[in-house]
Symmetry: C2
Subunit: 339 residues, 2 copies
DNA sequence: GTGAAAGCGCTAACAG
DNA sequence: CTGTTAGCGCTTTCAC
């Protein structure tokens, strides 16, 4: 037998479907005894209301999706945590989907999820600006750390203060030749970050070697490390901490001392950044706040923010206000030193 | 205006609503020209089919949910990755939800998601056996690493080989007094793991101090570390690696040498375990396989496994066969040494 | 307080 | 090939 429906419950309780519906979701409008009978019937049957059927009537699904490129990257875990908190406080269900860094997979996921949620949070989307704009017309979405340049697409990003500080920090330490390991070619954040590094280096009169694109994974750090050594740079900035970990791994296995021989600076300040030896100097990103801010913006856009929060929203800050660009800053640990 | 419906698309394309439906989802049964016209209309309108409405007809939602206690624990990231892969290969959408280690939050999530998916994977549930059984009657679910003892609840767990090896390893190193830091009181896995430690210690004639329950987080490791020192044990096993990291942190700040003064063994072999210094000796768990196995079982249970995989399933192993208890093993790194 | 009936957006028989 | 017509499970007027 298939899953029981409201009709089954009503029959078992000896009432009309509408009565059963009210008894279950509209407390007070039904005689206590009747309501109890209905609830009992529902319980015995193991009845679970079909969200699909309800959604057909309500204007909203009461759920939003968060799409991330790689759930195994600790950076996104923190982001998820931030949006989860905010969303839960507003009684909206959050579902997260991992698209494994693949643009096609990302679009498939969008297509699959768009129809079942009220809106979506797209974290570090690997889609191009045009595709993003198109989807934005189909379903309410807010882009996190990816500015499509389309004013119609709500966006919340992070600033480049952190990477500028990083370059300045290195320059201050006496480094005259830096290297930057880029992330995915499809990453908006990487383009932005690279530009910041280039400009800051130019401003400071520091030489910069572009190491080219590398997957945002730990294992990609090896190639980056080799490239750094080849370049002759005395310090390297990586697109993210995962790559930095990999650089550290490789440098260690090649007998290169960090920070004595080469300084390393990552980005994100993910879980584990303080675990390495030396501990990683990196750019700290308010990932959790980023997630919360994005979620708040989405709620505002889809008109769900008005729902009485089940918990004081104070903890998560104003619902849909605040800057849409969060500041980052350098966190100095052991992986950097004077030349 | 609200989101466009199929009726809007049909009107715009000048066809019947059913024709529009077929044009969009049943390629071939419609004249190419007509189909193109419909697709164009859909595109212009930014039409997105309502998953809710479709689900009302199809028997399945084409989606399953994965519920985890803490997405910020790297262990679960790996598990997520495993189920994601398997599920994607079968064209079923996976949504993951984080319940932040709170049983109430877990039940709320179950209630919210049960009606919109075909089944759920409950990872390391913090619910008690009875509650789990009850939910299992309402919605197809498979429990991961939590055996409710109810044969009706499909379960996939991990064995205790790893922790036994850990105790044997320590005993072989000459340790005569161990300590075990438990995880959450509501964790089935912890109870199981603790029993294994107790029994192995008894078998080997090694003294054991039970440090009591500690949250499965890094910050909880401090208290555990202090307790170890107080106990006089020369080695400590923790419920998970997060706690082990915390123990390492605390020990270091108290000037206690690892592994010279006290040996530390964690559990899970999560991201970062090889990053610490000394690198963490820990029990390796096939998390990704665990996720895949659980997903496969769920697909089998809800009859979705038959869907022609869009990718060869070979990579993920047999769909719904294989043991429901996966083996673990000790991975020795630097945090253990002879007394 | 409770029942009857009309859809929500879509798919799936049935006709044409 | 394409249009008509029932519902899917549920909420919601509108009567009683």
């Amino acid at each position: 037998m298939s899953r029981p429906t409201l009709a089954d419950v009503a029959a078992r309780a000896g009432v009309a479907i509408s009565t059963a519906s009210r008894a279950l979701h509209r407390p007070g409008r039904i005689r206590a005894e009747t309501a109890a009978r209905v609830r009992a019937a529902a319980d015995e049957l193991g009845y679970v209301p079909s969200a699909a059927a309800r959604q057909l009537h309500r204007s909203s699904a009461g759920a939003v999706a968060l799409v991330v490129p790689d759930l195994t990257n600790p950076f996104f875990m923190a982001l998820v945590r931030g949006s989860t908190r905010l969303l839960r406080a507003h009684d909206v269900v959050q579902v997260v989907a991992d698209v494994e860094e693949e643009p096609e997979s990302e679009e498939q996921t969008l297509a699959a999820l768009a129809g079942r949620v009220d809106g979506m949070l797209l974290a570090a989307s690997r889609l191009d600006a045009a595709t993003l704009s198109t989807w934005s017309r189909r379903v309410p979405l807010v882009a996190v750390n990816h500015d499509a340049g389309d004013p119609e697409v709500p966006t919340v990003t992070i600033g480049t203060q952190g990477v500028e500080e990083a370059v300045e920090h290195l320059a201050g330490l006496g480094h005259r030749h830096l290297a930057y390991a880029s992330g995915p070619a499809t990453s908006w954040a990487d383009a932005r970050r690279r530009t910041a590094v280039v400009e800051t280096c130019a401003r400071l009169g520091v030489r910069l070697t572009d190491l080219g694109h590398h997957p945002p994974r730990r294992d990609a750090g090896a190639a980056a490390a080799d490239a750094v050594l080849r370049s002759g740079a005395t310090a390297v900035l990586t697109f993210n901490d995962l790559q930095a970990f990999g650089v550290l791994d490789r440098l260690a296995s090649r007998g290169v001392q960090v920070p004595e021989d080469v300084s390393v600076i990552g980005h994100d300040d993910i879980f584990g950044a303080d675990l390495t030896s030396p501990a990683l100097t990196t750019v700290t990103v308010p990932a959790e706040e980023l997630g919360a801010r994005a979620a708040a913006r989405l709620l505002g856009a889809v008109g769900l923010a008005t729902a009485a929060p089940s918990a004081p929203p104070a903890a998560t800050g104003p619902a849909s206000t605040g800057p849409d660009r969060l500041a980052t800053h350098l966190t100095v640990r052991g992986s950097t030193a004077p030349v």
